[in-house]
Amino acid sequence: MRKSKRSKLLVAIAFLLPNILGFLAFTCIPILLSFTLSFSDWNIFRHNIFKTDPLNFVGLGNFIQLANDPDFWQALGNTFFFMMGLPFAVMGSLCAALILTRATTRPKSNKVAIIIASSVMGISALVLLLGGFDFGILTLIFIALACTIFMGGILSGGIVYRTLFYLPHFTAGVATFILWKKLYNPYTGPVNQGLANLLDGLGQIALAAPFLFQVILPGIGGALLAFLIYWQARRLLQNWEEANSGPVAILAGLAWPCFALGLVLLWRGASQWISYGSAILLTLACFIFILTRPRPWGSTPLAKGLGTEAALWMVGLPVTVLAALAVAHGGAIPVLAEANQIGPPDWLGEYEWAKPALMIMALWAAIGSNNMILYLAGLGNIPPELYEAADIDGAKPMQRFRFITWPQLAPITFFIVVMGVISGLQGGFEMARTMTQGGPAGATTTLSYFIFIGGFETGRLGYASAAAWVLFFLVFFFSMLNFKFGNVRDTY
């Protein structure tokens, strides 16, 4: 019996051996080796099968050098910049999943949907026509495609949508990048061809009615900014008094509308110190004002309500940036139109546009990714009786979402955010390699691409290993931060 057991064990081990050996050879040993190498001066030019110069232990030398390497800091900054797209990607996935399940819509909405879709298409076509958009073959194809998607989705009950939304995930990464590179082509890409016509139309309007841009647009932008600051301060004050938000959440909540003020000043030509200083001062003033108010409901945890503020960041920040743009640069549009300088950007070629261009592409890929599938599964698992109870209580769609859907999806959101942070920190290599080679001027060099350059272009494997371990610690740190401050525990 015993012998038979041992024999079974040996057979089991023999079956597992290839996998274990593979794991040791390609995962475990390289990890240990890379950790050791990060403290050495291993250089591919001096340490290889043909050259066996002594390998020197350099202690923390590689890490110190990283701290002094401007390229490293630029790559780190770029990586964090790209990660700013994560909240939008999460929001996009959730919206896509909500649309596909129609969790927040009611029955008998098909007719309304058809009317909305038709109106949207009609208005879009009119806007395009007024904007000087000529109805070429490409335009017709796009409109026909959009109509097909809308109508197909409405008539088939969402199956077409689900397939279409998930399509980006089926496409190989490099093929997608090449496709987007062509879409972004400043001269022949459809993105700029479409934009050029719209901007030409905008230029004509600006020439015909300059006051729209010199007075009305900045006025609307300014009013919107003032309203957002007031609304957010008032909301946070109420949350503070009702013990719904902690100090960290309040500070975070105040930062985004006040940040817009800094942007306006900066874009109007003020120095960075004055611009950001004013924004910080305004934030602090509001913060102190709120915190010195009495709290009849007692104290709250520091980070309470942070999740809600993060969600508001996602929506509020783009709006405030657009409003700030309207205030700061709205008046310049007629001048630019006069000089015939309104045109679409060179997306991948201009330093200021390369990062946003890649973010838009990543966002497109992220919306139709596994995150959407996870949300779809999560939405399917929400007990229908909760919605029934909400309906009986007379809850509106937004209330159904806020008090049922969003809390029920919190564990999935938490998982998606953790995975998103990890892949965001590690990602960007294929994108940079295929589309921009890390340029222009290193604007799209992420940490992973920096590691590749360090290891395989300059041959400094010790240095690249050190950078890889810094990346690991960053991933570890942010994952811990997510576990610590994520809302997952509150919702279980």
Binding site: V11, N48, I49, K182, A196, Y351, P440, A443, F456, E457
Partner: protein, 497 residues
């Protein structure tokens, strides 16, 4: 269960054995040489001629297979240092130095003497590309001196005369302004016509007497005011006068057609009035003649200069992998590169210059019977290679790929107006010098060499201050070697003795 395991094990073992015995080497019954290179018609023709050449010489047959999948520089490097590279490796410009630094390239000095493909068989100007410390690491397949091609029809269309054979920076700028103003009078930005397709910073600096490095290549000299001037000119020509597209614009044009095709289709259409390409441009232009219904009316001129005429020279070298199983056959391939058969193939195909200079005097090179309209152009490339071509300066203290990346980033930032020309020049020098310091601090052998060279540099500086000629052996930078010689500042080794 153990029977399943035994069966699986035997099946896998048999599978592996059958795979091993069906490897190409065991199938064809003759040595197979793998050649890591980009595949094209000239490469295929090269292999065919190599087979014939071997037959004529009575050598046993071999098979040469082009390994396109591993022609990427990073792959060549990583596979090489890992022990699994191709037998013959195509290398360009500074890549020979890089690969040789890893120790993966075979030192073919003795073989070259035995077979006869020694460095003196080719142009003097390109020897620093594949001869280091007196040792040879391969042999050139071709070389290209970069001159400027122009299409007379484009200039005539806009009522402009031909550009001059040689020109200074200011002449180039004045002519360029006239061209873009005339050619883009009613054109939208999207259909803009450019004067030239690209600029090369190094020949521009050299024309002002400045190199990337000092004489001993121990420090970058890019913070020199002459480089500031070059940065200023490049910024003005690219971003203000828009004579030349930015690097990204050029890349964007190319993304819609395969390879470097955009440059040539733009040249054909007149959107680029001129292109900076070596003689191999003919490989791309000749096939267009049928489609356009008439031959090009081409001219070739020198790039603009700031006083000292020079051109960039590039080189394609074939090196032999040190771990090759077929060293003898690989070395014979290098010998084939000196043969008439191969050199005439380069001449006839419209590729860059044949590696052996005497074939640049051959009628197949100078007077191609099918293209009489090209007569008179080919000699200019050969003449430039002989007289004004200077190879890239490669410092042992910093990788050329690192330099290229730094310079690309600096130029991007300069064109985006994030850096002023002064800052761009200073930043380039600072970044390169900090890498040199770091590399020297980590490599004791290199540090020794560095210290010696620094001492020598001080002596050179002292000699220059006193107006004394500098011994040639002290100068490591190929640009300074030639520049000093042409200026009469060099004391030749023979004169010293």
């Amino acid at each position: 269960m153990k029977y399943i395991f035994t069966f699986s094990f035997i099946a896998l073992a048999l599978g592996s054995a059958s795979l091993f015995f069906t490897l190409p080497e065991h199938q064809v019954g003759k040595p197979i040489l793998y050649w890591a290179t980009h595949g094209d018609q000239v490469k295929t023709a090269t292999i065919e001629r190599f087979y014939r050449w071997r037959e004529e010489k009575g050598l046993p047959p071999v098979e040469v297979r082009i390994d396109v999948a591993n022609a990427d520089t990073t792959k060549k490097l990583i596979q090489g240092v890992s022990g699994v590279a191709a037998d013959l490796i195509d290398l360009y410009d500074s890549q020979v130095y890089v690969m040789r630094s890893t120790g993966m390239l075979l030192d073919v000095t003795e073989y070259a003497e035995e077979y006869g493909f020694t460095p003196d068989k080719t142009y003097e100007s390109i020897r620093p590309f594949f001869v280091f410390d007196g040792r040879q690491y391969g042999f050139p397949r071709n070389l290209g001196s970069t001159l400027i091609w122009f299409n007379r029809e484009t200039f005539q269309e806009h009522g402009l005369e031909d550009p001059p054979e040689t020109w200074t920076f200011s002449e180039f700028e004045a002519f360029g302004k006239r061209f873009v103003e005339t050619a883009n009078k009613n054109a939208s930005e999207r259909d803009r016509k450019f004067f030239l397709d690209r600029l090369f910073a190094e020949p521009m600096r050299r024309s002002l007497g400045l190199s990337n490095y000092n004489e001993t290549m121990t420090a970058s000299t890019l913070d020199d005011p002459r480089n500031v001037e070059v940065m200023r000119l490049m910024q003005r020509w690219v971003t203000e006068l828009r004579l030349v597209p930015t690097l990204q614009e050029e890349a964007a044009f190319a993304s819609d057609v395969s390879g470097s095709g955009a440059r040539f289709s733009f040249f054909d259409e007149g959107r680029y009035a001129m292109i900076s390409v070596p003689r191999w441009a003919l490989i791309m232009l000749r096939p267009r003649i049928d489609a356009r219904g008439r031959p090009f009316d081409l001219g070739v001129i020198e790039p603009p200069h700031g006083g000292y005429e020079n051109v960039q020279v590039g080189i394609g070298v074939i090196g032999v992998y040190k771990n090759s199983d077929h060293v003898k056959e690989a070395v014979e391939f290098l010998d084939f590169l000196t043969s008439e058969s191969f050199n005439l193939l380069v001449a006839e195909s419209g590729d860059a210059l044949p590696p052996v200079p005497e074939y640049a005097l051959h009628p197949a090179f100078n007077r191609p019977p099918d293209f009489p309209e090209e007569w008179g152009l080919h000699e200019k490339f050969a003449q430039a290679a002989r007289e004004i071509a200077i190879p890239v300066s490669i410092s042992p203290y910093v990788l050329d790929s690192t330099i290229r990346r730094i310079q690309q980033n600096v130029l991007d930032a300069l064109y985006a107006k994030q850096l002023t020309p002064e800052e761009a020049a200073q930043l380039s020098a600072d970044r390169i010098n900090s890498i040199i310091r770091m590399k020297v601090s980590r490599d004791p052998l290199l540090a020794k060499q560095y210290d010696k060279e620094i001492a020598l540099q001080q002596k050179i500086d002292a000699y220059r201050e006193q107006g004394k000629p500098v011994p040639a052996s002290w100068i490591k930078n190929p640009f300074h070697q030639k520049y000093y010689r042409d200026m009469g500042w060099l004391l030749e080794d023979s004169e010293q003795q």
